[in-house]
């Protein structure tokens, strides 16, 4: 019989690959479209609140986008988009919402406290931890340079 190394080489050689071109284009189109929706929301709120500063508009926009992502996850649409779009629906902030809401819904059957509350960040946890840690790191470096 083939040796382990021969077998792993065979697997590497003949394993089916993703349809590279197709997946990339779908990711591009869906990702681009989601960003345009975000831009649209931001423009609408700039019109409604002409005196609000850029930061507030940004916060409103991400809140609305997160709400949309959460809602689409709740009604079972986001995973269908994700099946085709892949990176196109993972990388926008709606994908972050999806990764928070989907485990929360999934573990509802284990109760509100130990299911929903405990498991809400099983997928999105790394995003928060790494983001907050990295930002603090940058802040500290910034402070350090200022002190010098």
């Amino acid at each position: 019989m083939l040796s382990k190394t021969q077998y792993l080489e065979l697997d590497k050689r003949i394993a089916p690959k993703s349809k590279e071109g197709q997946t990339l284009w779908i990711a591009f189109l869906v990702g681009g479209a989601i960003c345009m929706i975000g831009q649209g929301i931001s423009d609408v709120f700039s019109l409604i609140l002409p005196n609000a500063d850029e930061k507030v508009i940004g916060q409103i926009t991400s809140t609305v986008m997160i709400f949309l992502g959460a809602l689409l996850t709740g009604i079972g649409v986001y995973d269908r988009i994700g099946k085709y779009a892949g990176g196109g629906s993972i990388i926008p902030i709606t994908g972050f919402a999806n990764s928070v809401v989907s485990p929360a819904m999934e573990y509802r059957s284990e109760g509100v406290v130990f299911g929903v509350m405990c498991k809400m960040f099983v997928i999105a946890g790394p995003i928060i931890v790494s983001g907050v840690t990295a930002a603090i790191g940058v802040g500290l470096i910034y402070w350090f340079i200022g002190v010098l």
Binding site: C35, I90, W143
Partner: protein, 120 residues
């Protein structure tokens, strides 16, 4: 106006396409992809490049998770300016509070209303 939207589409789409390329090549899972792009946002902000890209592509870079990384980092830097070293700790979360809180809140509410359904 149309041009702005085209730029948003192109830059946002391109970022997602790079993400998809990473998925295809490395079999990275969605959490890792998100972390990678978030850290990219942190890095761009720390190097002071984020605002330049943002003025060009607007939502094209802020709607992807890179925007979240930038918000956190910008908050930490501004925190340092205002409150010194304590600001490095408080600034990031303060700036990102809207996104984080809404994700937790909507996540909780929706999980109480909706049920996970089988994929088809």
């Amino acid at each position: 106006m149309v041009l702005t939207y085209l730029k948003v589409f192109a830059v946002g789409g391109a970022l997602c396409m790079i993400g998809q390329l990473l998925i295809n090549l490395t079999k990275m899972t969605s959490a890792k992809i998100l972390v990678a792009f978030l850290l990219l946002g942190v890095l761009l902000e720390a190097l002071g490049l984020f605002d330049a890209i943002k003025s060009f592509s607007q939502a094209g870079i802020t709607i992807p998770i890179t925007g979240f990384g930038s918000t956190l980092t910008k908050g930490a830097i501004e925190g340092v300016k205002e409150d010194g070293i304590l600001g490095a700790l408080t600034g990031g979360m303060k700036a990102a509070a809207a996104g984080l809180s809404s994700a937790i809140f909507f996540g909780f509410v929706i999980s109480l209303i909706c049920k996970s359904k089988t994929k088809v």
